[in-house]
Amino acid sequence: MSTSDKPAKADDAALVATDGDDDGTKKKRGPLAWALGWIAVPGAVLGGIFAGGVIVGANFHDSWVTRAFVWIGNLGS
């Protein structure tokens, strides 16, 4: 019975010690990396999707895709 408690505690300690990096130090990311990761890349991906839609809407306005989305859009108005 008593043997089961100790190893558990040892595991907890190990978890705390290894949180972050292998050498135990937590790496701090700079603002540039943060902006790149949270703003630029997602912005480019989402912007690309939006721009793709714009191109489709402008150049294939007779296609069923465009008609469908325009119809949906017009439901609100």
Partner: protein, 348 residues
Amino acid sequence: MNWKRIKAVGKLGLLFGTPLLVVLGLFGTGVYVGDLYREPITSFEKEWLGLDVEVAPAHASDDADDPKEEETPPKAPVTEPPAEASEPKPEPETKPEPETKPEPEPEPKPEPVEPTPPPAEPTPPPVEVPPTTVDPVEGPLATQLATPVVVGVKVLVDDALVERRPDWIDYVQRTLSRASAVYQKQFGVELELVAVGRWGVPIEGLSSLELLEDVQARPREAASVVVGFTERPLDNRTSGKAFTPESDAPFNASAAVVYANASHRDAHLRSLLHELGHLFGARDIPDAAHPDYQSGSWMSYAPVPESRAPWIDAANRARILERKQKPFAPASAPAPAPAEPAAEGATP
């Protein structure tokens, strides 16, 4: 167990469905916006990105075109006459000129017409060709306007133009369809592109009259009219050349040469409107003091910016309307004497 499975599937659906929904929503919003601002987007693609796309008419065209039509209230009367004229219409249609004409078989006297001087004025950057400005007509002219006529056109393109515009077939189609839109509104004449071909003619060294004779001699196939598009730039004297029938001639003329106006995006459009007008008997307006010149009729020599809607003076419009149902000179007809206004600067 079953409940757990349902829960897991729900989580999975949520996990994949939410991002999918976001992406689809974003794309759909883009499509909606793209459709809404079609005209500026396509003109941006064409002018700034150099893409070969057809610039859409202002999006309003679906909705706001109507207001534009309404802007010219006189149009209403124009549409009335057709209804009234629908009864007498069959008469003019059943008594086509050709039936009576073949007997006399008078040789068509189209004469080479005056080249149009080029617009000397530097033109603004490319602008979408605006719809034509249509003046109201009444009486018999309104009846004529309401009578639809389709003219088959064959276009020949010289090597210089083919080299300059790799999309030359599209270019010809676009130019002719714009000209057709203008002619339909102004005269009730639809220009139908029957054939496009390369024009094996030297790209330098021939006068406009020689070019015209060359075009005239080419097989017309099923078309009524042959037009040669050349990349030759406008000089100070020539923007094109066409045969013009006399007012009492039984046939309309059937050949024209159109030069390029490099300062216009639609480099051949205005010259095409002009030269086609000659084929139907329209006359040049070379006098700069003439009010129609100053108003910028496309039959004048006035330098008109591309952004201005094509417009034709009343006298020439009446000439074209009166002659629009005449047959075109048969292909076998002898080439018109090139002697008359051979001089490039001559007035008709």
